[in-house]
Symmetry: D2
């Protein structure tokens, strides 16, 4: 069994044992992703640029795992292949951010 | 080559071709995850419970892909195995949310 | 002295006594607003529509106060009059959401 | 009539003319605050520390106004006095962050 399948199965088992599927509509899953993403950001709040990679690695692992867990559950709910949707988005972003114009700049595509 | 490796390689190639590594410190990557998570949430804003799974699937794919992309890049920056950290977190959550107390309730662990 | 002036003065005194101005660049203040907004949202996570106004009022007060505090500090940093910018935005939104088209619908302006 | 009252009245009139009160439960208002806070943060994404106050002021005004508007509507819904709750929170934060320990450090209260 591949790694992603193993993780999804573990997430679903965890959810089902607790009878939590009733709470996991897409809107609440998306909200959960956002809340966990903010907890991840809190690890960096007020940090200077020189400390911007300096983080408690155990906390980083936990918060990032929370973001990923709810993201995987939302993908699973809509039968999305997480690898396929990321590869598709990279292709689309390639059109929005052509190398010759986007190189070395952090501007948004509508300002390039 | 496995799927995750293929996706990470594509993300890094995309970033390097545009010389964007200079912008991708951990603090900014975390912020990007949060911003993309909010765009995902916007798809559900003002929706009633009865519409909470009713979403433009193409937009869902794109916004979720953005959340995943920056999450993968942050994991890669810190040499984290995304599957391992999620499995670890499920184990920890099992202790915070024991089945007998957490079953059927959406309460936070400190209110169980 | 009016109420808003009194609050801003209290916020600035609190910040200065702790020598925190050094951390309060606009980017970090904006991040703080977002993190506090997420803590506010956590009060509602997993809630059904029927419970969507049902909230611990003391926690609501605290989280909303945090959002407002950092918003006021960001406004003060850029010499913005919070009342004026909201009234200006209402005017702009009036053009984006004309009554005849926006009435009774939660659609975004670009879908009206 | 004071400034805050004037703004709240304008927000409510805007909402009522469009028959939007039906969408404005507390959970969705909190979500709207969070989404607008993220749009505010997007103005700063990828910015270096040296550019952290450097922002399109018109966009800043608009995004901050959106955060404030939904915050005011949520306060109004629960009959909260925005000035009072901020002053109360400053008092509480004074206990969590005593000057002698918090001065000059960005640590969270539980790490002081």
């Amino acid at each position: 069994m591949d790694d992603y399948k193993k993780v999804i199965d573990a997430l679903i088992q965890f959810r089902n044992e607790r009878d939590w599927k009733q709470f996991h509509d897409s809107k609440n899953l998306a909200l959960a992703i956002s809340i966990e993403a903010s907890e991840l950001n809190e690890l960096f709040l007020w940090k200077k640029e020189s400390e911007a990679d300096n983080v408690n690695i155990e906390k980083l692992k936990e918060e990032l795992a929370d973001v990923l867990s709810f993201s995987f559950l939302l993908a699973e709910k809509h039968n999305l292949d997480i690898f396929e949707i990321v590869l598709d988005k990279i292709r689309k972003n390639g059109e929005k951010y052509p190398v010759e114009r986007a190189k070395g700049t952090a501007k948004k595509y509508d300002e390039l």
